[in-house]
Symmetry: C2
Subunit: 115 residues, 2 copies
DNA sequence: CTGTATCCCCGTGGATACTG
DNA sequence: CAGTATCCACGGGGATACAG
C-alpha cells in the first residue's frame, strides 16, 4: 500500500472562484444539485431526472458531495431500502450560481434556435 | 495513425446547463475569462493575473476558447510580438454566470473567516 | 514576449456485470 | 431499490526544456 502524498491542489486556497468551483467539481454535479433544489429526492428519482448519468457516477458524486457537506444522505429502514438525499444550507448557497449557469445556457440555446 | 471515433459527448445537446458548462470547461477557464471581463489583455498580463496557471495550460485554454468563439486573438506585428485577447459578445454573455460563482465563493470564504 | 514539445499523473466518467 | 466491482479511455493539467 502506498500513501498518497501528491498534492491535489488545483487552485490556491483563498480564491473565491475556486472555493465555489471545488464544490461543483465533476461535470454532472450541477445537474444533481439542480435536481435537489426543490426538495429531498431519492436515488431512483435522481436517476430518472438525469437519465444520462450512470449509476456509478451518480453514487460517486453523491458521496463526494456528502463528504463536502453539500448534501445529506438519509437511509430509511424499509425493505427494499429507501434513501433520501437533501441539500444542506451550504448546498443551497450554491443554487444562485447554478441558476445563473442555467439562465445563460438557456439564452444561448434560444439564440441558436432563432438563427 | 489511428482515427478518433470515440464519442466525446458528456451531456446531451439541448440541455441549457451543459450548453453553458461546455464553454467553461477546464478548471482554469473561468479565471481566464474573469481576467478579460474588464477589457482586452495581453498574454503576459493574463499570466500575471493568474500566476498559478502554467503557460501551457494558459495557451491551451486560450486556443480552445478562441475556437469556441468566446474570445478573439489579435497579433500585432511588433518585435517582440504582442498578442491581445478580447472577449466576444458570446464571451461577455458568460460573465453573469461567472460573477455568480465568484459571489458565492466570496460569501463562503467570508463565512469561513468569521468562524 | 509568446508561445511549443514532451512526458507523465490523476480524476472523471462510460460500460458492464453483480449484490444485499 | 440502491448501490458495488472492474476495467478502461480520455482529457486536463503540472513540470521542464526549448523556440521564433
Amino acid at each position: 500500500m502506498v500513501l498518497k502524498v501528491r498534492k491535489t491542489v488545483k487552485a490556491p486556497p483563498g480564491c473565491p472562484m475556486s472555493k465555489c468551483m471545488d464544490l461543483l467539481r465533476g461535470c454532472w454535479t450541477p445537474e444533481v444539485l439542480w435536481s435537489l433544489s426543490e426538495g429531498p429526492r431519492r436515488f431512483s428519482e435522481l436517476r430518472r431526472d438525469n437519465p444520462f448519468i450512470s449509476a456509478k457516477v451518480m453514487t460517486t458524486r453523491l458521496r463526494d458531495l456528502e463528504q463536502l457537506g453539500v448534501l445529506t444522505r438519509h437511509v430509511m429502514p424499509t425493505s427494499p431500502p429507501t434513501v433520501e438525499y437533501e441539500l444542506t444550507d451550504l448546498g443551497r448557497e450554491l443554487l444562485p450560481a447554478i441558476r445563473s449557469i442555467v439562465e445563460v445556457g438557456t439564452r444561448l440555446l434560444l439564440r441558436d434556435s432563432n438563427l
